[in-house]
Subunit: 378 residues, 2 copies
């Protein structure tokens, strides 16, 4: 490497296995236990001697532990939040010790439905227990204990990552100095449950699905589910700007049931890219975890959040119709009712839900300053 | 029947066949022709001697010619707009001659992909030509000619019916005294095209689809497409009010990938009811017709609507996110720019797009008064 080139952040995936036996099992909300759980994670930066600079990043629905940097300089792309995290970036790895782990139920290294069930030697598939957001957080807590970090400076997440961050603040208040919940909700709305249901039916109706015991990923159904979800990640405004009614490869309609419109080609591309990296069973499990997510337990959110003590930063995006500003405001109201410090910002953006990955400059500055203040208070 | 009982409006389906041969063929936007086209239609009330009281109702995506009344007193349900149309109702069949026909491409009596191709003696299936909203209107025009009605008092439609009404006003201005376009758009937005694409993929991936040559309706894929579309017909607000996060048959989550939520059971029910009455190929053809719908031809809507001369009533619903008030306003602006009489009303409603079928009292009063005024101007 020439001395003039920028030195890239290199990431090394690591594994933490809870170990065998009853004592190490992870108890789940469904009443079952997971044995020999593995957590795939990556860390960046250095844990301070005072252990006061650790930040846990919780990933979204189809994210993974590879949050920034590259595994090899030859990698085509860096981790999913590389514009946010790294040396000198908004979450500065010269200052902070950043941890990101793949959720249980996932398909990127942590124990999930395509893992081998140690009790049978076979893949779990649909015998994998139905997990919850709280279960994901309980597994992360075991990792943080393993890393001997008594208290996190911040737990930060967008979308489903925000659900985990909120759950952390409720389940383990003594371990959380601050919580950053971005483009998220305290409970999934029926419209979102409905979209997830349709997506799950598309997967289950794929001829290759075989009730979860597929030899090859049921790509058609999974791509359909992804295309549907992807629509909910964009705003009608951004789709209008990006595609309008533009045709893809022609000057006029084909009159032949082909992909005429640019937006159709875009969706197909997103679907195809997705099935190369994501597993259908994992998709069913993780979307179900979000369906089940209701921090209020069906009652008062303020009451349910009584255990939380951390400071909060809540961020929404104006054109996000999946997890709306109104939903963020419900969270803020409950936290303020509990006398907690809660900053709230709605960022004007036309990008819809995806803005949490795209509006990095405005979001990053907010997070940078919030976390710097938290370090002083730690 | 006891004399005290309300006498029900009885409806008799009728057929108009264009007849064989080149001279009777219907020329389509795609460049192909349809031969021996049949139009299924129903009429209510009596055509006046002056022939000045005929109203054409254009149905929505999955509607049919059976707009009101019952085919038999024993029918469980009347036609789809029975609360709007009938003796003494908002569209009073004692005053007006109401006509409603099934669109071509449909599966309720008019020529569509499951009709027999007279050239081959086989079902068209995917050999049926891809049709447009304008093609549907051209076929309706032939029916109106057949009925010897020189000019319609009004063409009225909601959703895809509104698209047809607008197309009528542009294609046959001399035949349209007034146009009522409800909960509609002058062109399908990319978000709607995207939802249609996902629905079409769900149908095509059904193992029973067989490239359209199915022996039995590919119910699973068609139900999935319908469930998806149905979400876009409701508002998040109405889903919250109607279902919230209510569970269907239990006090707690099943943790078993069952239909836990009331909204899931509702969608499944809608999907199942739909596949009993609608054909998968028709669904592909008719949704494609809406994808292709762009009254502006890609340019200025006002310019494209220059031929129109009728008076207009445009109605939107505040919570309709499929065809929004903003989209209705674009239509209104173009018509006003052309110096036409155009009344516009946004009705406050939480029902979403479905409001055009549910807010019958507020919508009905508007239409009743508008049409009465048009009769005076006729």
């Amino acid at each position: 490497m020439n001395s003039g080139e920028k030195i890239e952040l290199l990431a090394t995936p690591q594994d933490y296995n809870f170990g065998p036996g009853e004592a190490n099992a992870l108890e789940l909300d469904c009443g079952r236990k997971l044995y020999e759980v593995n957590i795939r994670y990556e860390t960046f930066g250095t844990l301070s001697a005072e252990r006061d600079n650790a930040i846990l990043i919780a990933h979204a629905l189809t994210g993974d532990a590879h949050v920034c940097g590259k595994h090899s300089p030859d990698d085509r792309k860096p981790g999913w939040w590389d514009n946010m995290i790294g040396p000198g970036k908004y979450l500065d790895t010269d200052k902070y010790f950043i941890i990101c782990s793949n959720v249980i139920g996932g398909c990127s290294g942590s124990t999930g439905p395509r893992s081998v069930n140690p009790a049978t030697g076979e893949l779990y598939n649909l015998d994998f227990p139905v997990i919850t957001i709280a279960d994901m957080v309980r597994a992360q807590k075991r990792l943080i204990d393993h890393l001997q970090i008594p208290k996190l400076l911040a737990v930060i997440g967008g979308s489903m990552g925000g659900m985990q961050a909120l759950e952390w603040s409720k389940l383990y208040p003594d371990m959380v100095q601050s919580t950053v919940a971005i483009a998220t909700t305290h409970r999934l709305a029926p419209q979102s449950i409905a979209f997830n249901w349709v997506g799950s039916q598309a997967i289950r109706s794929d001829a290759d699905f075989d009730n979860g015991n597929y030899a090859v990923n049921p790509e058609h159904g999974l791509a359909t589910a992804r295309m549907l979800a992807h629509i909910t990640y964009l705003s009608d405004e951004s789709m209008e700007q990006k595609f309008g009614r533009n045709l893809q490869d022609a000057d006029s309609y084909s009159f032949a049931f082909k992909r005429d419109f640019a937006v159709e080609s875009y969706l197909e591309h997103q679907g195809q890219r997705f099935v190369e990296r994501f597993d259908a069973n994992s998709y069913l499990y993780i979307t179900r975890a979000t369906d089940y997510f209701d921090l209020s337990g069906g009652g008062s959110l303020a009451e349910a959040m009584k255990p939380a003590t951390s400071d909060f930063l809540v961020v929404s995006f104006s054109s996000d119709w999946l997890f709306t500003t109104a939903q963020s405001e419900e969270i803020v109201k409950a936290l303020l009712a509990n006398g907690l410090n809660c900053s709230f910002c709605e960022i004007e953006s036309s990008y819809g839900h995806d803005a949490f990955l795209l509006e990095v400059d405005r979001l990053g500055a907010l997070i940078r300053d919030f976390v710097a203040n938290q370090r002083k208070k730690f």
